[in-house]
């Protein structure tokens, strides 16, 4: 058996602060995995290390066996880790379709000069990319908004567009940072269905940070709880819910 993501003894220091320490995470193919913990536990810091925004101080990160330490964010994105953000970071003044086309285009790897010379892309290629973008937008029924500017989408749709844009890089592992933040219960339910649907459709693993326990317990097959940057518990939703350590961290003594 081989895991999609293997994190071993991951740690990072910010000056004198040990923000994450000795963390291990194993995400299996097509697994829905939850990363939870109180505010400030270091969840987003873990995402930032997985995507190359921060360089880990120690430990290793492997994607399908390949070492990611020291790789640049755009290289990691092309290798197959894609993400969304806690606070939405769409390209606001680009259209919905253009937001997706940008991440689709990174599949075509060209250097600066070959990029300039290959500019007149064949009409056919262009057409195929547009079709794929529309196809991806259909996952969230966003295809009707293709030519709308991203900043004019309603809030919930913007969150969905971020997921579609992340899918454009053809990821093997999708990182969702609080995907349900600010959503109402109905929207959260739709999101849960959608996450399960796209796991099947694209055969990807999903690692998500979320505070909405109904969502986490409802769809995650495995959960890791961290507190102060260290592992508190790891297991199935059932095990986590009954773990005295976890209950203590969330509810106090």
């Amino acid at each position: 058996m081989s895991n999609v993501l293997e994190v071993r003894d991951l740690g990072i220091n910010f000056g004198g602060l040990r923000a994450v320490d000795g963390l291990n995470i194993d995400v299996a193919p097509r697994q829905l995995y939850g990363l939870i913990g109180p505010n400030g536990a270091g969840k987003t810091t873990v995402f930032n290390m997985l995507t190359g925004v921060y360089e880990p101080s120690d430990g290793t990160i492997r994607l399908n066996g390949e070492l990611l330490n020291g790789k640049k964010p755009h290289e990691i994105a092309r290798m197959g880790i894609s993400r969304t953000f806690q606070n939405i970071r769409l390209f606001r003044n680009l259209s919905v379709k253009e937001n997706v086309l940008i991440s689709l285009d990174t599949q075509v790897d060209y250097g600066l000069f070959s990029g300039i010379f290959k500019l007149p892309k064949s009409f056919k290629q262009e057409k195929a990319m547009e079709e794929e973008a529309l196809e991806l937008l259909k996952v969230f029924e966003l295809d009707g908004y293709a030519d709308t500017l991203a900043c004019n989408l309603p809030y919930g749709k913007q969150r969905e567009l971020e997921i579609v844009r992340a899918l454009g890089t053809h990821p093997k592992l999708l990182l969702l940072d609080e995907p349900a933040a600010g959503m109402n219960p109905q929207e959260t339910q739709n999101l849960m269905d959608a996450i399960q649907r796209l796991r099947e459709k694209f055969a990807i693993s999903v690692l998500l940070i979320e505070h909405d326990m109904k969502l986490v317990m409802g769809i995650c097959e495995k959960i890791t709880v961290i507190n102060y940057g260290t592992l508190l518990a790891c297991g199935t939703p059932q095990e986590i819910q009954n773990d005295p350590q976890v209950i203590k961290a969330y509810l106090g003594e």
Binding site: H74, A77, R83, F91, R92, I102, A166
Partner: protein, 294 residues
């Protein structure tokens, strides 16, 4: 010359200087949009472009080869300038970048003075087309060629930025560099490309400018550079249509002031416009006002 003809002539002059400013202002605005840097050395690239083309012409190369070589050298120069001077400072404060840019500008002007001496050099104009006569006003080939070439380049640039994938990547980086990286965009390449395009446009501006206003000298780029910067601010720095609009407005104001008010007060009036603009509408005519994130 009748009043109407004089006015018409000034209109032509305004369009001519406006198109030169526009080509330079595009470089300022694109680099600002992507790297959030005001590249004060940008004006000196037009000087580099002028000198490279002069060297080629003096060496007996045909004009089109001189132009191509000058554009290529300047693009390369823009890329190298960014890699050596600005890239190491990408995480530094804006003021460090600004001071570095002024330093690069002085470095360029002074090293060209060392190499070519400070004496003006005559530029052999090569635009050899008939003069256009409209009524009693004759328009020299330099003027209409400058205008046509500039407008064509602006249209091409706009198509590039709006339609191509590289253009989309440029817009994405300008909106959110971090998110662009995480979507797989090679931000370093995108910034290099921006500097290359800006410098290529500056080289063309330098060649057209030298054809209209021979002789050339190593500080020839500084005043047009600053004027183009004012044009970019006037139109809204970071905005491509804004830079073009600002440049043509500035060109018109300049020639009209020269013709009807005073050529001595010209620069004071232009700089007063910059101050007024910054005081009243700092985001420029087409610029978006930046809202502080709360």
């Amino acid at each position: 010359m009748s009043g109407a003809n004089l006015f018409f002539l000034q209109l032509i002059n305004g369009l001519n200087i406006g198109s030169i400013y526009a080509l330079i202002a595009l470089g300022y605005t694109m680099v600002y949009g992507i790297a959030k840097l005001i590249n004060f050395a940008h004006g000196d690239i037009i000087m580099v472009g002028a000198y490279i083309s002069l060297l080629c012409l003096n060496a007996g190369l045909p004009w089109y080869l001189a132009c191509i070589l000058s554009i290529l050298v300047c693009s390369l120069f823009g890329i190298v300038m960014e890699k050596l001077a600005y890239k190491p400072l990408r995480k530094a404060s804006r003021i460090s970048l600004l001071i570095t840019a002024i330093g690069v500008s002085y470095l360029l002007e002074n090293s060209f003075q060392l190499i070519f001496s400070a004496n003006p050099k005559p530029y052999p104009g090569f635009i050899d087309l008939p003069t256009l006569k409209i009524g009693a006003v004759s328009i020299s080939a330099n003027y209409y060629v400058t205008f046509i070439v500039s407008v064509a380049l602006m249209i091409i640039l706009n198509l590039f930025v709006q339609k191509t994938n590289m253009g989309k990547a440029m817009r994405a980086v300008s909106e959110d560099e971090g998110a662009a990286r995480l979507m797989g965009i090679n931000v370093d390449n995108t910034i290099s490309l921006t500097f290359a395009i800006g410098s290529a446009l500056a080289a063309i501006a330098g060649i057209l400018y030298s054809n209209c206003y021979s002789p050339i000298n190593p500080t020839m780029g500084s005043l047009p550079g600053i004027k183009a910067f004012i044009a970019a601010v006037l139109g809204g720095i970071g905005s491509i249509p804004g830079a073009v609009l600002g440049a043509f407005i500035l060109g018109m104001i300049e020639t009209m002031v020269k013709a009807y008010i005073s050529s001595q007060l010209l620069d004071s009036i232009v700089f007063a416009i910059l101050i007024l603009m910054l005081a009243l509408k700092p985001a420029g005519i087409l610029g978006k006002s930046v809202k502080e994130k709360v």
